[in-house]
């Protein structure tokens, strides 16, 4: 296991190094699919330049990174950009490790896993995103999952707080992490049990405590609360309508002004809303719940990028045992591949050639999101169906002995 993994890592790192040095990097770092106003590297540089000019980076509307990020980059930029170049390698290694570990975990649970060739797929995608700080956010989430699966509640809570601090949405990962620890410690989810409340409060305390510490730290670094509206207000109120692969930009560009607040609330609640029913439904399967949550965040968040898609796609190899239950994986794969090819084409037609208009690009984002939703719900379906087969046997029979079909009722 270790030798092929190392080999794979070396290959991935080499490919990345080559791509980083090529002229492709310049082109990719400006793509709207890859960078969002939240995490563009150009904006980080701008924030640093503002800091050098003695202007607060949050006084303008260009920089939306968190204060810890800017001080991290302030430190690393002083040395060289090499540091920044290296950090995504680190992320890659982590995600590979995570994937292998993840599979091991599930192998324990369901013992019918095969090694998978698609393993390298997220790595490939990750190459592309190397120019946005999205890679770092992904690294934090990956580390969080790693620590959770390792069973370290303290580290997991701290990393979850860090991830929440970075982009709010990982807040919903609290539920699956808690469920995982409860399951691991053989504490039943029972509201009347004191042990349940005891651990829940413990974990919540770690999480909230470290969140408060991190936020307080950034306040002391910056000396003002300016970053709260500039980072979190920016995420929630969606003032920047620069096109991206998400559902928000065109919807709110075309929205009637008096319905704006209502729809912003609806769309933002939509991201967090699925946590409760999913946690109830999947309370025995917290790892799958993590996957579902990350996927939902990346589909419905306000400024999604390819990097977010890559994060949940990295899980797909872990669910290779669900392939036989997927209903329309061929269709979805075709849709997603076609969309990835059409994004740059239609962008070029709209922005540079002037022969298309915004509707073209919008149509493709719509289709892309539709494909993602189909993909995620298909995996959800397959997971539930597999669970059903695990308890009722693979070949179901009707009362009269003929082969039965399963339906949702």
């Amino acid at each position: 296991m270790a030798a092929p993994l190392t080999l794979l890592l070396i290959v991935a790192v080499t490919i990345r190094a080559v791509l980083f040095r090529s002229s492709l990097a310049e082109l990719i770092s400006e793509r709207v699919e890859v960078v969002s106003p939240l995490n563009a590297w150009k904006r980080v540089v701008e924030g640093l330049a503002l800091l050098d000019l003695g202007v607060s980076p949050y006084s303008g509307d260009v920089f939306h990174e968190t204060p810890l990020m800017i001080y991290l980059f302030h430190f690393t930029v002083d040395y060289a950009e090499i540091v920044f170049m290296v950090s995504p390698y680190f992320v890659d290694c982590l995600s590979c490790l995570l994937a292998s570990l993840d599979r091991a975990k599930i192998a324990i649970g369901s013992n019918n896993l095969k090694s998978d060739l698609l393993f390298n797929f997220p790595g490939c995608l990750r190459h592309i995103i190397s120019f946005s700080t999205c890679g770092l956010n992904n690294a934090i989430i990956a580390l969080f999952i790693f620590c959770t699966l390792k069973g370290s509640a303290l580290l997991s809570g701290i990393l979850l707080a860090l991830a929440t601090y970075q982009s709010i949405y990982p807040l919903t990962l609290f539920a699956p992490a808690l469920l995982f620890f409860l399951q691991r410690l053989y504490i039943p989810v029972n509201l009347r049990r004191s042990s349940f409340w005891c651990f829940t409060l413990q974990y919540a305390f770690i999480y909230v405590g470290s969140l408060v510490v991190i936020t307080g730290l950034s306040f002391f670094l910056l000396g003002s609360w300016d970053f709260i509206p500039s980072v979190y207000g920016f995420i929630f109120s969606v003032p920047d309508l620069t096109p991206n692969i998400g559902l928000f930009w065109y919807f709110f560009a075309e929205m009637f002004e008096h319905f704006r607040l209502f729809f912003i609330c609806v769309f933002q609640i939509n991201v967090f809303f699925y946590t409760i029913p999913l946690s109830i439904k999947l309370k025995e399967h917290p790892v799958f719940l993590i996957f579902m949550q990350i996927a939902i965040i990346s589909i419905f968040k306000s400024y999604p990028t390819v990097g977010d898609v890559a994060l949940y796609m990295a899980f797909l190899p872990a669910w290779s045992h669900l392939y036989r239950f997927l209903r329309n994986i061929f269709l979805v794969s075709c849709v997603l591949l076609a969309c990835s090819a059409l994004f740059p084409v239609l962008w070029h037609l709209w922005i540079y050639a002037g022969s298309a208009n915004s509707n073209f690009y919008y149509a493709i984002t719509l289709l892309f999101n539709f494909g993602q939703i189909l993909l995620v719900s298909d995996y959800f379906y397959a997971y539930l169906r597999r669970e059903h087969h695990l308890t009722h046997g693979l070949y179901l029979k009707k009362k009269d002995g003929t082969e039965a079909t399963l339906v949702l009722k």
């Binding site: 202007v55 006084s59 559902l247 439904k281």
Partner: protein, 642 residues
């Protein structure tokens, strides 16, 4: 680092104080030392106006009556007080005609009203107005305005062909105001003031809001009395898209004491003024010193109108012009209320009369140092009745001798010149290039560049480059205020040292934002205007500037106070930019709302489906016949069919 910054700012303050700094009032004292002497003349304006201008006298009388009613309501003592106060104002008018290098004719009108009252007094409300327009006076006292400059310009001043104008202005509307430092809510006052001015001048100044207002830290210092440096009380805004037309000219003319009835203002006929290459009208109000010692201050209202006629092409290549040809009117009298009324014609190129002939000839010549150049003018004093001759009308006529087609059509080399353009293609990013030329052969001088860019073009300040002679030229001072979406624009001010005989290029990259569909102008594909950059500088003068103001100092050379002999103040406006933004499809709102909501609903629906239902073996329901049979069997009590 801190010490370094401190040093920088110190240097900057030093430079500032030398640059455009009217704060020290010694220049102003000189500028206004004539006011004291003219006082005796203006004390009794009615006696002066005995030379047959009865109509205007009536006009004056009518103004008296209308304001008297208000004064009568107060006590009698105040009335007499205001009477004497009213007598302490004076009005001057002036027209300068300058044949330009390119063959065009530049006509510059200046009307100045001086009044030593105090609008900002708390107790004593100024209620009696004579020459000063009441509408503006009330605005000044209501909003505690210390200095107000407003200009409306149609067309772009071509510095390379025409040289420097007497009073520069950017295309569109420009408004900058210094408020008194007792004002607590400057933004509120500014908002109200723009709306009031919008009504007074019939212009779209009400479109000035926080999204296009900036507070320049260095470029716009007060031109009048007082040494304010706190730019919190300054507001500057431009509307580059504003179109100037007759409806702006009429209210502007109404502010003149003689309206358009008498004096130089009879020439201001809109059908000719707007048939020109360049038209700019402005109002400047500022406090100035009343006398040499500057013991009391007076308010100066300066109305200027600059127009460039392209008589060269319309006159088949002849450079001949006359007042009638330009304005379709001739002068018949001076404004009876004016203490001085003069027409200056620039004859610097023709001191001996060998090139052209100016009729009627005038023996009166005047020399003035203006914009770093010594010019000679023929002066026509309209207050003297013999000027108008037998016909009782003055039609200045300039006729060129010999071959007029051998005019020099090559470009001028003004010492300071700037231009600007947008580079890049596509609707995603772009680059603003500002090019500043220093054409002085051996002197380097610093310039202040000010850029105000709307928020929907996101500037990336780290991409700012300043290059002179293909070498990096680091600005010694940068003041940058980044934009806030939908709240305030970018403000970029830089102090750049221009090497002698050089071209300095300032570039900065920007990103175009996609706006909400309601934020686009009615013709979104026309593009969005970005106001002119402002280059302010003290340019080294070729001749010694005149720091001593004398009695007959013409108005056009006394607007910007001159502090030192070696340099003069110049402000250059670049072209406004027209930038295209990506647009959404404006016919789509319903479709987009429906389609996006559908996709979200598909997500919601499929998750809901999977969350609420469970897997069950599909038991196909029995056919209808079997079910009927079962019904009968149940009644009969026999076993049912499967």
């Amino acid at each position: 680092m801190a010490a370094h910054r401190c040093g920088l700012s110190l240097v900057f303050i030093l430079i500032l104080s030398s640059l455009a700094c009217p704060s020290s009032c010694d220049a102003l004292e000189k500028a206004n030392e004539n006011t004291g002497e003219k006082q005796s003349v203006s004390d009794t304006p009615r006696e002066v106006n005995t030379d047959g201008s009865i109509a205007a006298e009536d006009l004056n009388e009518r103004q008296w009556q209308s304001t008297d009613v208000e004064a009568d309501r107060s006590d009698g003592t105040k009335d007499s007080e205001s009477f004497t106060a009213a007598a302490r104002d004076q009005f001057q008018e002036e027209l300068v005609i300058r044949p330009l290098h390119s063959g065009d004719i530049y006509a510059s009108f200046q009307f100045r009203t001086l009044w030593d009252t105090d609008f900002l007094q708390e107790r004593q409300k100024v209620s009696h107005y004579r020459l000063f327009p009441k509408s503006l006076g009330q605005v000044l006292s209501k909003f505690s305005v210390r200095e107000l400059h407003i200009s409306f310009t149609q067309g772009f001043w071509r510095t390379m062909q025409w040289g420097q104008p007497f009073i520069p202005s950017p295309p569109g509307a420009e408004l900058w105001v210094w408020f008194h430092d007792t004002v607590s809510d400057v933004d509120g006052n500014w908002k109200e003031l723009t709306n009031v001015l919008s009504g007074i001048f019939c212009a779209s100044l009400n479109f000035i809001d926080l999204t296009n207002t900036v507070q320049p830290s260095a470029s716009f210092k007060p031109l009048g009395l007082g040494n304010a440096t706190d730019h919190r009380f300054l507001r500057y805004a431009t509307l580059p898209r504003e179109i100037v037309c007759t409806e702006n000219l009429t209210p502007w003319k109404k502010l003149l004491p003689c309206g358009s009835k008498a004096g130089l203002s009879v020439l201001l006929k809109s059908e000719k003024l707007f048939h020109s290459s360049f038209h700019s009208q402005a109002v400047h109000i500022r406090p100035v010193c009343q006398d040499e010692q500057c013991t009391s201050k007076a308010w100066e209202l300066r109305q200027t109108l600059n127009v460039v006629f392209d008589l060269y092409t319309s006159g088949q290549g002849k450079k001949e012009w006359s007042l009638f040809k330009m304005f379709s009117r001739t002068l018949t009298e001076a404004c009876p209320l004016a203490t001085s009324s003069k027409v200056y014609v620039d004859i610097t190129d023709n001191p001996e009369g060998e090139l052209f002939e100016l009729s009627p000839a005038t023996p009166l010549l005047s020399q003035a140092v203006v914009l770093g150049d010594r010019r000679t003018y023929s002066v026509f004093d309209l207050t003297r009745a013999e000027m108008f001759g037998q016909l009782r009308s003055l039609n200045l006529l300039l006729r060129w001798k010999g071959d007029t087609l051998t005019t020099q059509s090559d470009m001028l080399r003004p010492l300071l010149h700037a231009e600007r353009y947008v580079a890049g293609f596509g609707l995603q990013t772009g680059e603003i290039h500002t090019v500043i030329y220093n054409n002085h052969p051996y002197r380097a001088f610093p310039v202040l560049l000010m850029d105000s860019v709307p928020w929907y073009l996101q500037l990336y300040i780290h991409t700012l480059t300043v290059t002179s002679k293909s070498r990096d030229n680091k600005p010694s001072y940068i003041h940058y205020q980044p934009a806030k979406d939908r709240h305030r624009p970018h403000l970029l001010e830089m102090l750049i040292q221009l090497p002698p005989h050089s071209m300095t290029e300032v570039t900065v990259q920007f990103e175009r934002a996609l706006l909400k569909w309601t934020e686009y102008t009615p013709d979104p594909n026309h593009g969005f205007y970005v106001g002119s950059s402002v280059v302010s500088a003290l340019v080294p003068s070729m001749v010694a500037m005149n720091t001593n103001f004398t009695q007959d100092q013409p108005l056009f050379s006394s607007f910007v106070p001159v502090k030192e002999e070696s340099s003069y103040f110049v402000r250059v406006y670049t072209e406004p930019l027209l930038v295209n933004l990506p647009t959404p499809d404006f016919s789509m709102p319903y479709n987009v709302i429906c389609l996006t909501c559908t996709v979200v609903a598909v997500g919601y629906g499929s998750f809901y489906n999977l969350l609420t239902r469970t897997f069950q073996v599909d038991e196909p329901s029995l056919p209808l016949a079997k079910r009927l049979a079962n019904l009968i069997r149940r009644i009969r009590g026999v076993p049912l069919l499967a």
